[in-house]
Assembly symmetry: C2
Homo-oligomer: 642 residues x 2
């Protein structure tokens, strides 16, 4: 079980309009904007107090803590995004600013390595005493990820040292008898510890991550028991400690078969399970990961790669329960799903994991950010009717327009760090192979058998399926080039300098094992628009139809199709036509269809004896990820079918 | 604007299997069961503490308050139901028990007339200080209704005196300058005060009710301002005082045009508005009631007469927002709607109000209680899939099976008092007219022009539309008999001793103004099963079809039609057949239809390139009000249409 590696972000330069629109936003807009938010300098956003909390924890200004208990993670994700951004766009001023705030983080850290401004400021006696709700380990995990990233990109190890000290404290604490069964209420530290292990080689971090994973579910009442301690403090009153599924501790992780509870917690746990399984060659743990992946993708995932269908508590519910309008599908949960799938693909070399990763990234994650890069969705349902997205109702979690920032600001910086690290999703390598996962224009520098190889990719994907790959090894070299053939591709050609090439299709990758010299391969995949039908058990859209092109889910928007999209029927017999419209939504392929719609009369009664009549209508579909970039309006992915 | 009167419940005896099934339950099951609950003697139910709270408030046992702040209303509704039950089924032991608990209520009352065990026990300094959340006036209103009912049926005035003293205190308090703009956070006291006025003739009770109605919305920030008082105490932390719509104080009631906020609060307010409008001949206020009725019935009411479509906060949302599965449609809200419509019909003599009253009573209210009379729904959606009705999710408000009792037990006793007072809905009178609203087998004793008339009604309604009415005046008398012709009746015959009779149709009533002697009229209404279609703006079921027969909404249940009712299509062209099945569900008319269903394969993927195939299927529909009497299972009212 030899794991493929992601490449360093400085080995890849992504280009081309589709992704650059987003990745540029991270550097040019999100990072500076978030810095102002973290410093309470952005009048439009809710106050964050994040930097102030660190200053107060460092004793540099008086006062207490403000914000969510996990407010420190906003800075962690910012630093991680900064690291990734610096790898592609060096910026000495930004780096200096990051160094400065890292110094502050160091000053806020306590002598024993403890680092969580909420507990330092508000409840120092209660450290580690409410692991269910306290988020200390979650917060530490994100800062560990930032530390690893910042070190990898800049070579600077200050934050790494800070977080190793914190990790050391965690390893010491959570191997004391009193904490020997303890686990984090929100998984993430396992991922962070594993990254520290990867960067430092320190096996105790790996061991601690493995222990947290293996402990989980061994004692389902762990969060009930911690309440008996006199120093336990309540943080989130409505988080029930007996709700073991919510925290993925209903049974030992190796026995889990269904994705349960809070969706982000769940997929972060599965990432850690995959990390450990891949590192240890632990086939039992890997089998659990495969089962959980299967449960998600075969029973509990939206067409958009969204997961977690309950608006209350952001959680998984039941198999086939994927309501279109009231669903949650948090941006962060799809990020976590992409992270999990990436790990599974690295371990198994199976393209299906990349299919799901791409589905989550290119639909839900991208929908989480506006084309201008400065507005965000936290919740990503497949059907929105702005009129009923009302505060103080069951639908208040659904925002009909992207928001500037959130009080609980997990999603925007998570989207930022994901987009900024896109290169880690694009390809994998090992000593003598290169695996191309996502077709993204750009340039890679990798090694095959120790020989540097420059790879240039040119493509208009996802608008077109043609991918041109130029390989330029420094000298001829033996090795494998594996080109992902997505599950949605039925027809393709692969040519080299104009002549057909045959390649073995291995679990979703076209594998070419041979000697490489300078050459140009063209993989031309047919990605016509297509109709997609749901399993009838998906009660919310049984019998309806959706439209996709390649990995992109399409939707109807009010801007193109008028009000009341529930009254529209699509004629699947009449087919779909596609047009690239360079001026629409930053340049998208628009799909057009025929259909009918129920006519509405002005003051018709609610109920009547005769059905409404239907009239012919032309329908226009745009990619789901760029919905709601033309003002508020209705949207639907699933459409009635004639 | 002369208002028709309801008749005393001792003037009517209801018979026949349809209603007796329920009314007998009230006397034989619900009242004794609830008594045990109120006394914490029912091991299956959550502890109520209700009687204990009164004993503690009376100083007869030590200890504090337990339960919801409005726990006293459980006893009030029990006493009201007991009064109604005694009118049809005298029971000296029950009456003695009621007298005894009334004595206890008297002992719990404070010397100044104050009566609310929560504030007496827990926050005596904060009486009337949190009217938004405190429910003192709401609680008093329910006890006033009980007092009026108990006096009217038994002639005993002890509870009436208790509540007049309480009402006197309220009148004094809420005319002091400090409270001169105060209003109850949950309307109900207005109804109670009006009933006390009707029973005692004391105009200050009418004046106080009118003042509460007229004050409402004059100062939208009334609940924000009360928080400034040092004695304000928080009771429901998540009830926002600035949410003026939630409390129907967003504008003066005479200017309100849409039904807003908490549905029960709203319709109780509208009842009070109608009471005042009818009493004062206040056409402006009546016009507001008509507008609010129109908004409800034309934009915001389920086909079942359910209202309030948000599962969170039990409230109205937006026009045309009536989701089938996630809706709320609280039993109490439909009771309130029926009470409002009854008042409007009394004032306006328009049959459309009775249509809505019947629709609410015979669908949502009856669905709230099991055929055995001992299990209850609080929430009444039009589509239920038990698998996703999970605790700790957005769907946790929907119970897939009726419950024994509830911690917040407003609905079961409210259903009990409603069923026990059915006679008040059946007919109205004035000096020389009798208005038959609901066709219910039984016997009435009324007066026309001072002459006693015995009226016997025999019918198998709602299974059959034939109604036989025997009139036996003590001597021949002039007067009007008005027979409601429901809006859903297209064809009917009216005969007297076999010969056709012509009657003038006036706003939904067939009016016969003439001299009456002993006679038998037969109104034979065609009530074939029929298809009903929704306004396409009802996005949850645009293009679907429902089935009704007379006032009854029908539904598909899993027990008859298998799993996954969302995958069923009904062929409206193939018609409906009806069969009375005496052994099914206590004897119901079953409807059968033809249709198709999407076939489900065992482990089919969530999404695929080809639509599922369809197979023919036979469909069976049963009345919505008796769904879920055969174990848990899926149910749907709205069905896809071929």
């Amino acid at each position: 079980m030899k794991k493929l590696q992601t490449i360093g972000l400085n080995q890849i330069r992504i280009d081309g309009p589709f992704w650059n629109r987003y990745t540029r936003s991270v550097t040019e807009k999100i990072i500076p904007y978030q810095w102002r938010v973290l410093n309470d300098q952005e009048p439009e956003a809710e106050p964050s107090h994040c930097i102030r909390n660190f200053r107060r924890a460092a004793g540099e200004e008086p006062g207490g803590f403000y914000g969510f208990v996990f407010q420190d993670t906003d800075l962690a994700k910012w630093l991680e995004a900064v690291a990734y951004s610096l790898s592609s766009t060096p910026d000495p001023a930004l780096e200096a600013r990051a160094d400065e705030v890292i110094d502050l983080v160091g000053r806020a850290q306590q002598p024993d390595g403890y680092l969580d401004t909420y507990f330092i400021l508000e409840a120092p006696e209660s450290k580690w005493r409410n692991l269910q709700q306290g988020h200390e380990l979650y917060t530490a995990g994100h800062m560990m990820e930032a530390a690893a990233a910042y070190y990898q990109v800049t070579g600077k190890d200050k934050l790494l040292h800070i977080m190793c000290r914190c990790a050391d404290l965690i390893c010491d604490t959570f191997h004391q008898p009193e904490f020997a069964q303890s686990i984090p209420g929100h998984e993430e530290v396992e991922i962070g510890l594993f990254k520290l292990y990867q960067v430092t080689g320190e096996r105790r971090y790996l061991d601690m991550a493995r222990d947290f994973v293996n402990r989980r579910g061994q004692q389902p009442d762990v969060f009930v028991r911690e309440r008996n301690h006199p120093k336990w403090v309540s943080i989130f009153a409505d988080m029930d400690p007996t709700n073991t599924r919510y925290h993925q501790c209903h049974k030992p992780v190796r026995q889990q078969t269904t994705a349960e509870g809070h969706a982000v917690r769940a997929v972060y746990l599965y990432c850690a399970m995959a990390d450990i399984a891949g590192e240890d060659g632990d086939r039992e743990l890997l089998a659990a990961c495969e089962r959980l992946y299967d449960n998600i993708t075969q029973k509990r995932m939206y067409l958009t790669g969204g997961i977690g269908s309950s608006g209350y508590m952001e959680r998984f519910t039941a198999d086939y329960d994927l309501p279109a309008a009231s669903g949650y599908a948090e941006s962060c949960a799809s990020i976590g799903l992409a992270l999990f799938c990436r790990r599974m693909a690295q371990i198994t070399r199976e393209g299906r994991y990349v299919d799901t990763m791409e589905q989550a990234l290119m639909n839900t994650v991208l929908a989480g950010i506006s084309l201008d890069g400065d507005r965000f969705f936290y919740v990503n349902p497949l059907e929105v009717w702005p009129d009923n997205c009302l505060e103080g109702t069951s639908m208040s979690h659904v925002k009909p327009v992207r928001q500037r920032w959130f009080g609980c600001a997990c999603c925007p910086p998570n989207i930022a760090r994901t987009l900024a690290s896109l290169g880690e999703y694009v390809c994998f390598t090992d000593e003598d192979s290169l695996w191309l996962n996502l077709y993204v224009s750009g340039r890679l520098h990798v090694q095959l058998g120790g020989v540097p190889v420059e790879v240039t990719v040119e493509t208009k994907f996802p608008n077109q399926g043609r991918v041109e790959i130029h390989l330029r090894p420094q000298c001829p070299v033996e090795g494998r080039l594996a080109l992902r053939l997505p599950g949605y591709v039925q027809d393709y050609t692969l040519t080299e300098n104009g002549a057909p090439v045959s390649a073995r299709l291995e679990r979703g990758y076209l594998c070419l094992d041979r000697r490489w010299e300078d050459t140009t391969l063209v993989l031309d995949m047919a990605i016509p628009p297509r109709f997609v039908y749901s399993n009838p058990r998906l009660r919310s859209y049984a019998g309806k139809v959706a439209v996709m092109k390649g990995p992109l889910v399409y939707c109807l928007e009010q801007a193109d199709n008028g009000e009341n999209l529930a009254a529209v029927w699509l004629d699947t017999g009449a087919g779909l036509t596609e047009t690239f419209e360079p001026k629409l939504l930053g340049g998208v392929t628009v799909l057009r269809a025929r259909g009918k719609r129920l006519t509405e009369e002005g003051d018709a009664p609610l109920y009547r004896d005769a059905p409404a009549t239907m009239e012919d209508t032309a329908l226009t579909l745009v990619p789901y990820h760029c919905w709601n970039n033309r003002g508020p309006g209705e949207m639907t992915v699933w459409v009635n079918r004639l």
